[in-house]
């Protein structure tokens, strides 16, 4: 034991020394808040998995949850190897970060440039953003995409669409230079994921029976649980984006809460007037719409404008999913575009209207505080985000579909993705017959047989 302890001391000594050097500029309160925020934002992706999982048919619940959960793992590895340096490495021509920090090389225990936290805390915090963004897209193509093609597409999307866009806005790229403001990711996260989702759902086509068969959420309490986890995690998302435990974080916290609440009210009331009943699915959709709308503005606006931003966000997103989607007839299954694309767009515009330097001196004054420059910059950024999302997703989708089957067969879609793609079910029947084949090694012959049976009879249920 003593030997181990001594070894530890020897190993720890240089680390401790390095930490002492850094301690001059690291603020412990700020660091604690950003690390907690990172954990809060992490929880949003499993929360999203439940939010989406409750809205699909029971035969697709696992495949839907799996997509979000798997993205946590896939994108975390992508982020620490290449994503961070592409986004926050030294800027190259305003377009992309250099690869100097590949595999987090040289990050070590450095203090974040112009910050009061370790750079690794920033890496962790930003990692969670990189994770949730592609997970949001999965709502658009739920219940019909093959898992293999999904993995390849999402990885390419993270590398070639998310990383450049995040660099342009947050990593010192050309949109940052232009003066566009995006506090916690209205452009980078919500517009990008929502518009990409719309692009993919149009390319992938509607679900089997869309518009003819009822497609009801199979477990709304699960969706409410997911929305609650998202709302909770969003405090880390927005208030954590202050990168410090300070007044700005508190401002972002209260604007987040206010906007989410206002949008919940507005969605419920407009649905109540429009369809005759206030619904819980409407309430949770409204809170997400409000959270999305306030995301780019949270650290730039005062609480009262936040109420307006949320209130309008709930109405605009309701119109997008309940009216526009029905009219146009595209199958954005779980409304990734209607909530995140539209809500994000409204939030980015609203930032250009209500931002004020009295909240954040590092920000700018919006239209209602005397300057139209910011609104123009916001509009340009929105156009850029839409263009990148549409063109990028289109190209990547075509690329992936050139060598992989992207959509499940009709018969597989009818059988449900849980059994076809994952070989498991979310809800076991009370009565169930069948043979336990034992552990897979013992029973590979039988397994072969039954998987052949499955593939030779694609229409089996």
């Amino acid at each position: 034991m003593a030997l181990v302890a001594m070894l530890c001391m020897v190993v720890a000594a240089p680390v401790a020394f390095a930490a002492d050097e850094a301690a001059a500029t690291i603020d412990t309160g700020d660091t604690a808040w950003v690390l907690i925020s990172a954990a809060l934002v992490f929880l949003m992706t499993p929360g999203l998995a439940f939010f989406y999982g409750g809205m699909v048919k029971s035969k697709n619940v696992l495949s839907t949850i799996m997509q979000s959960f798997f993205i946590v793992a896939l994108i975390t590895v992508e982020w620490v190897t290449i994503g961070y340096t592409m986004t926050f490495g030294t800027d190259i021509n305003g377009f992309i970060g250099s690869l100097e920090k590949i595999g987090l090389a040289g990050v070590g225990l450095n203090v974040l440039a112009n910050g009061t936290i370790p750079e690794l805390a920033f890496v962790a915090f930003q990692c969670m953003f990189a994770v949730i963004t592609p997970a949001l897209i999965t709502g658009a193509f739920a219940e019909r995409m093959k898992f293999g093609a999904f993995v390849v597409f999402i990885l390419l999307w993270a590398i070639f669409i998310y990383n450049p866009m995040a660099h342009w806005v947050w990593g010192g790229g050309f949109l940052a230079t232009l003066g566009a403001l995006d506090f916690a990711g209205g452009l980078v996260i919500h517009i990008l994921s929502g518009v990409s989702g719309l692009t993919i759902c149009l390319l992938l086509g509607k679900r089997h029976g869309y518009g003819k068969l009822p497609m009801l959420p199979h477990h709304l309490p699960m969706t409410v649980l997911g929305a609650a986890l998202l709302w909770f995690g969003w405090f880390g998302f927005n208030a954590g984006s202050a990168l410090g435990a300070n007044a700005l974080a508190a401002n972002a916290f209260i604007t987040t809460q206010a906007a989410a609440a206002a949008a919940t009210l507005s969605w419920v009331f407009i649905e109540w007037m429009h369809n005759g009943k206030p619904t819980i699915l409407g309430a949770v959709s409204g809170c997400i719409a409000g959270l999305v709308a306030i995301t780019p503005a949270a650290g730039f606006v005062e609480p009262m404008p936040a109420v307006i931003i949320g209130f309008v966000g709930g109405i605009v997103c309701y119109a997008a999913v309940a009216v526009v989607k029905q009219k146009l007839g595209y199958d954005d299954a779980l409304d990734a575009f209607g909530v995140h694309g539209i809500g994000g767009t409204w939030g980015a515009i609203a930032t250009g209207l209500w931002a004020t330097k009295s909240v954040n001196p590092a920000g700018a004054d919006g239209l209602f505080y005397g300057s139209s420059d910011l609104l123009v910059a916001q509009m340009i950024s929105i156009v850029v985000a839409y263009a990148l999302a549409i063109v990028g997703s289109y190209v990547l989708f075509k690329l992936v579909s050139s060598f992989m089957q992207v959509r499940v067969d009709d018969s597989e879609e009818v059988a449900g993705l849980d059994i076809v793609e994952h070989g498991e079910r979310g809800y076991a029947q009370a009565i169930m017959t069948g043979n336990s084949l034992g552990l897979s090694a013992e029973a590979s012959a039988m397994a072969m047989q039954s998987s052949i049976a499955l593939s030779s009879e694609p229409d089996m249920k």
Partner: protein, 119 residues
């Protein structure tokens, strides 16, 4: 009292909506629908939980039960087959039974009166 016939249709659950519409169109309004599990020629599939494999051979279907007297039984059979036949294993079965009696609990009406819709 006219002759009553009970018809059970067991088939794929995704065909339910289409079947219901087709039956409504020939005048069969009332039915009882349940989710059932069964096995037959369909072979089932493999599921794996932490390395333990199962061959699941009980598969989900729906059962539609209805009773007719005015509508000819053959019309029901033809309509159901037209809608449900894909030619693949798993299309299901139709069973036809003579029915002795029926009672509408609310009014106490019996026989054909119990199953005919009030005009």
């Amino acid at each position: 009292m006219r002759k009553l016939t009970k018809i059970d249709i067991i088939t794929r659950s995704n065909k339910l909506e289409e079947l219901k519409e087709a039956l409504n169109a020939i005048g069969v309004q009332g039915m009882t629908v349940s989710q059932v599990y069964g096995c037959g020629l369909q072979k089932g599939h493999k599921e794996v939980y932490r390395g333990r494999e199962y061959a699941i051979n009980l598969l989900p279907q729906v059962k539609v039960e209805t009773v007719v007297c005015e509508v000819p039984v053959q019309t029901v059979l033809d309509t159901a087959q037209k809608v449900l036949k894909t030619g693949k294993v798993g299309d299901g079965k139709i069973f036809v039974f003579d029915l002795e009696n029926a009672v509408r609990i609310r009014t106490g009406e019996a026989g054909d009166q119990a199953i005919m819709d009030e005009k």
